[in-house]
């Protein structure tokens, strides 16, 4: 498992029904591309986050395939419409099979 992986998410605590909110996410990950070589000339194996998914109350908002050219600590900012109170669920898939999850609740104000 890649070391020091930590997802971070920023979602407003509340919004009016039908509001479009901005969501920011960042996961600390080294995103080793798989084309670099170490001091002895051996290829350093690829280790990246290859997919990122965000859902709201079970409904998919965004589904991203990540490629090796994406830099370390991938950051996503996107907008979502909030029809009702509920929970955002964010999932990152690592090359090594690990899955990192975090979720944020939002209220209707």
């Amino acid at each position: 498992m890649a070391k020091g992986v930590k997802p971070r998410v920023k979602v407003p605590k509340s919004a009016a029904a039908g509001d479009v909110i901005t969501i920011k996410t960042l996961i600390s990950h080294k995103m080793e591309s798989g084309v670099r070589k170490d001091g002895d000339g051996n290829i350093i194996p690829r280790s990246i986050i290859n997919r990122f998914v965000a859902d709201f109350n079970g409904q998919n908002i965004i589904d991203v395939n990540l490629e090796p050219a994406i830099s370390t600590n991938p950051y996503f900012q996107f907008e979502a419409m909030v029809p009702e109170a509920g929970e955002f669920k964010f999932t990152w898939y690592d090359d090594d099979g690990s899955v990192y999850e975090t979720s944020k609740k939002i209220k209707i104000a």
């Binding site: 020091g4 930590k6 971070r8 920023k10 920011k24 960042l26 600390s28 370390t72 600590n73």
Partner: protein
């Protein structure tokens, strides 16, 4: 004659443009808390009227990164610092958190450092490594290494918004004088002193870069150019290389004295740790 007038005008325009871009008058607020990025210069900084944080000399995009802790890339490293703070290491089976239960207790430490203890000038890095070797029985960290900057950023963050106030009299006076001498001492193949750029020419472009006053209230600072936290001593070393001088030793007496002098020049500014620069 006509030609000469034109030249003089051009020079005046260039000069005023230089001053106009000296530093902006934006206000730094992080999640609503205003951070003091300008202050009246301390009396001993006789060539300055106002001291400005390096934040004022950066572009709007870089400035905005520091105004939101989520956007601030340094917080990835602060998170690592939190993990290191709780990590048990060494022969005593202790972590930082074993003695210092809550890292919030360090509020007020950063603005007072470096300070003199038992006749020696100590920096935060010295304090951290003293704890590691004396009380944890662990290996000291590299002075400007990633673990060290992560933890010093975490500890410094607890004092964010507090005014820098390092002592320059009493026991600290000889170190302060040494730091001042170093600040005005021309060195290296380019024969430049710190003051040539950061006092005589702050606010002016040096090639593509905007010269700041060289304040250290935001260290350790995240630099976009190397995508990691940089300690003050690592930055001093970079500056000395730029002027083709042989850098002093990181963590050595010269840099510690210089750190004291520079910190004192920023007395009155708020701690900005961890700041974002280019």
């Amino acid at each position: 004659m006509e030609f000469k007038t034109l030249l003089t005008n051009a020079a005046v325009v260039a000069l005023s443009a230089g001053f106009a871009s000296a530093q902006d008058d934006s206000i730094l607020a992080v999640d609503g808390d205003v951070i003091n990025t300008r202050a009246a210069a301390p009396a001993f900084a006789e060539n300055l009227d106002t001291v400005y944080s390096g934040w004022h000399f950066r572009s709007g995009e870089t400035q905005s990164l520091q105004m939101d802790d989520f956007e601030n890339p340094a917080f990835v490293f602060v998170d690592q610092g939190i993990d290191l703070f709780d990590k048990v290491e060494g022969s005593e089976g202790k972590a930082c958190a074993s003695c210092h239960e809550d890292v919030v207790d360090f509020a007020g430490l950063r603005p007072a450092l470096p300070r003199v203890e038992n006749g020696e000038l100590v920096t935060m890095e010295n304090l951290v490594n003293e704890c590691r070797t004396e009380r944890m029985g662990a290996e000291p960290w590299k002075y400007t290494g990633g673990q060290m900057t992560a933890v010093t950023a975490l500890i410094g963050l607890q004092s964010r918004g507090m005014s820098i106030n390092v002592a320059v009299d009493g026991d600290a006076a000889p170190f302060f004088e040494r730091g001042k001498d170093l600040y005005y001492q021309r060195v290296g193949q380019l024969d430049m002193a710190c003051s040539n750029c950061h006092e005589d020419n702050y606010g002016v472009m040096i090639r593509a870069d905007h010269l700041s006053q060289g304040q250290i209230n935001g260290f350790p600072t995240y630099r976009l150019k190397n995508a990691k936290l940089n300690s003050a001593h690592a930055r001093f070393k970079g500056c000395m290389k730029n002027i083709r001088a042989t850098p002093f030793k990181v963590g050595g007496d010269e840099f510690k004295a210089l750190e004291l002098y520079l910190a004192a020049r920023g007395n009155g500014l708020s701690v900005e740790t961890p700041s974002v620069r280019n």
